[in-house]
Amino acid sequence: MKKSLVLGLALSLVMGLSTGCGQKAAAPAPESSKEPAKTEAAAPAPAETTGPEKIYIPLVSKGFQHQYWQAVKLGAEKAASELGIEISFEGPETEAMVDKQLDMLQAALAKKPQALCLAALDSKAATPYLEKAEAAGIPVIGFDSGVDSPIVKTTCATDNYAAASEVARHLAELIGKEGKVGLIVHDQTSKTGIDRRDGFVETMQKEFPNIEVVPVQYGEGDHAKSTEAAKAILTANPDIKGMFGANEGSMAGVMNAAKELNKTDLVMVGFDSGKLLLDAIKAGTVAGAVSQDPVGMGYAAVQAAYKAYKGETNPEFIDTGFKWYDKTNMDAEDIKPILYE
């Protein structure tokens, strides 16, 4: 009896495998494949096949399950369907897993793509693979935090330093340019983490001498850890006036902490969007946030990669932009499309 159970499990696994393929087929180009369950439809056609060449551009990101990355993926898929090309989108489970990202990079290169988009967790670690790509004539486009390497000619990213400065200025205004503020940052090693931290802290120091920034806490972008970190700050500094969460997860932590400690007068400002943050801003518990344009970023990255493959030149830095939004303007024409839930 147990044997048949095990066999059943094996069977369901195989089915899972084919469903997985189907998923893949459905995801990048939903309108193109009529039979998503067929594995043949899923497998990317080899580059050597004659007839119209199928262009394949993988995106290797820093994560995949966060709303932010899903929005980047959405933009990339939009560009892909406009251009009629195929893409894939992958990232490691946590941003600490540098080697897992290298494995993904390897697997992506093994498929001989026409171009590659990369948001490197550690640019130096990725160098050999970039060299390999260069040798194979595969152009590499950086996105998000980009890639710190001469091989990468184009980066599509938000100017995180400038965006964080913008947040700092808004927060300073909101608390009357004096008092204590704190911030939760997702990590201390990545470029986005460093830029957002420095942009915020340095702007406060330079432009608002009466504002004191308490020591920065890191929460790995994890909701629970960020909550703990934010609670630690709030408990240690009962007179704190404002808090900044440097990404989606960090901001969730700040909001949780304020709720758990019942700090109703705390001024909170965030970064990015996501349902939690949007709802909070709508309800007025969070004053506002800066949003990058992840959808535009994904879109721009794929467009730039396509151009590079076609031999056209791209600018070195493609600023995908950021915008301050709050309760008053979040439904405005220019804001609404860049917010994602």
């Binding site: 600490a96 897993m97 697997a107």
Partner: protein
């Protein structure tokens, strides 16, 4: 029930044909071959020299960790700290080589000693101070994770000044084809050498002998006049040493010591050991099985990516394979 009896009988007669130990290796090995065949058909890019080398390279670190932890698992224990001990060792190598400017070989030795020392601490906590392995190594895991961040100043330490360091993993002794077109990275050789060393220790030495005895019946072993405390400590230290080697291989691959990395790697290592047919309750286990288990995991990860399976589904499938492997193993033993 009657049906079951007849089924069992057929199972028994089959067992008589095949030596159970050999059947186990066959099972894991067969699964690996099956995976390779499946992926070869599923994607034209899978069975290419470059991709196979990438699979092997991505097996190295997890494989070496698995080779270490199998010793502890055979005693019936667990070491949750190997992932972060690995990281701690690579940070120590970074501190030695980059910050202090000492030669690369000193850094390597420091890394391995660091790993061994962490293992020794876990072992002492478990054997002499009678903490449960789960708790003791959880503590060591957190301590080493924190220390890695402290020592590195929470930033990666790069080996930019010592280009030779990187060669440890990505350089290559073995090259063939025109102008060395095909090369095998050294990391793979290190993994192979570590596997041979592990097999020798497990099968040919006193430590290996006592390792099985402790896992099979710790109390009986103690009552046989074996200094169980000492040997258990040694086994944990050995596991730590493997984590130290893994730390060097990892750091060399990334050309940097990444202080935030490491947590979660112990689970992959445990999965490799279990897929390789080792029981978590101790007393049995093979090195070959573990190596194959590690390859199954990385083949699966790579193959699913190359095939283009959505990432969410990759996780589902890997988990399913793990459970299935353990179920099949249980069935074999009945």
């Amino acid at each position: 029930m009657q049906n079951e009896v007849s089924k069992n009988q057929s199972g028994i007669s089959l067992k008589n044909f095949i030596n159970p130990a050999r059947a186990q290796k066959f099972l894991a090995f067969g699964a690996l071959i099956l995976l390779l065949i499946f992926f070869s058909f599923a994607s034209p890019y899978f069975m290419t020299f470059d991709n196979v080398v990438s699979i092997m390279l991505s097996t190295c670190v997890n494989g070496i960790l698995a080779l270490g932890i199998i010793f502890v698992i055979i005693t019936g224990g667990i070491d949750l700290s190997i992932g972060t001990v690995m990281t701690f060792s690579s940070v120590m190598a970074g501190v030695t080589i980059t910050t202090m400017g000492l030669p690369v070989w000193v850094g390597i030795i420091v890394a391995i000693i660091t790993g061994t020392f962490c293992g020794f601490i876990s072992g002492t906590l478990v054997s002499r101070l009678k903490l449960q392995p789960f708790i003791a190594t959880l503590g060591v895991m957190m301590v080493t994770k924190g220390l890695s961040l402290v020592l590195s100043g929470t930033k990666p330490i790069y080996f930019s000044d010592t280009p030779s360091f990187r060669k440890i993993t990505v350089g290559s002794f073995i090259k063939f084809g025109a102008e060395g077109k095909y090369s095998i990275p050294n990391g793979i050789l290190i993994f192979a050498v570590m596997a041979v060393i592990a097999a020798i220790i497990l099968n040919k030495t006193k430590l290996g002998r006592y390792n099985f005895a402790i896992g099979s019946n710790e109390e009986a072993t103690r009552l046989s006049g074996v200094n169980v405390e000492k040997w258990k400590t040694a086994i944990f230290a050995l596991c730590g040493a493997f984590a130290g080697v893994a730390g060097v291989v990892m750091a060399a691959r990334l050309d940097s010591a990444q202080p935030a990395l490491g947590q979660g790697y112990e689970l992959d290592a445990i999965a490799s050991v279990v897929i390789g047919g080792t029981s978590m309750s101790g007393g049995e286990g093979t090195i070959l099985g573990t190596v194959i288990g590690a390859f199954i995991i990385s083949t699966l990860t790579n193959g699913l990516k190359v095939m283009g399976v959505a990432q969410e589904w990759q996780i589902v499938i890997t988990g399913g394979v793990l459970v299935l492997a353990v179920l099949l193993d249980k069935m074999r033993k009945r």
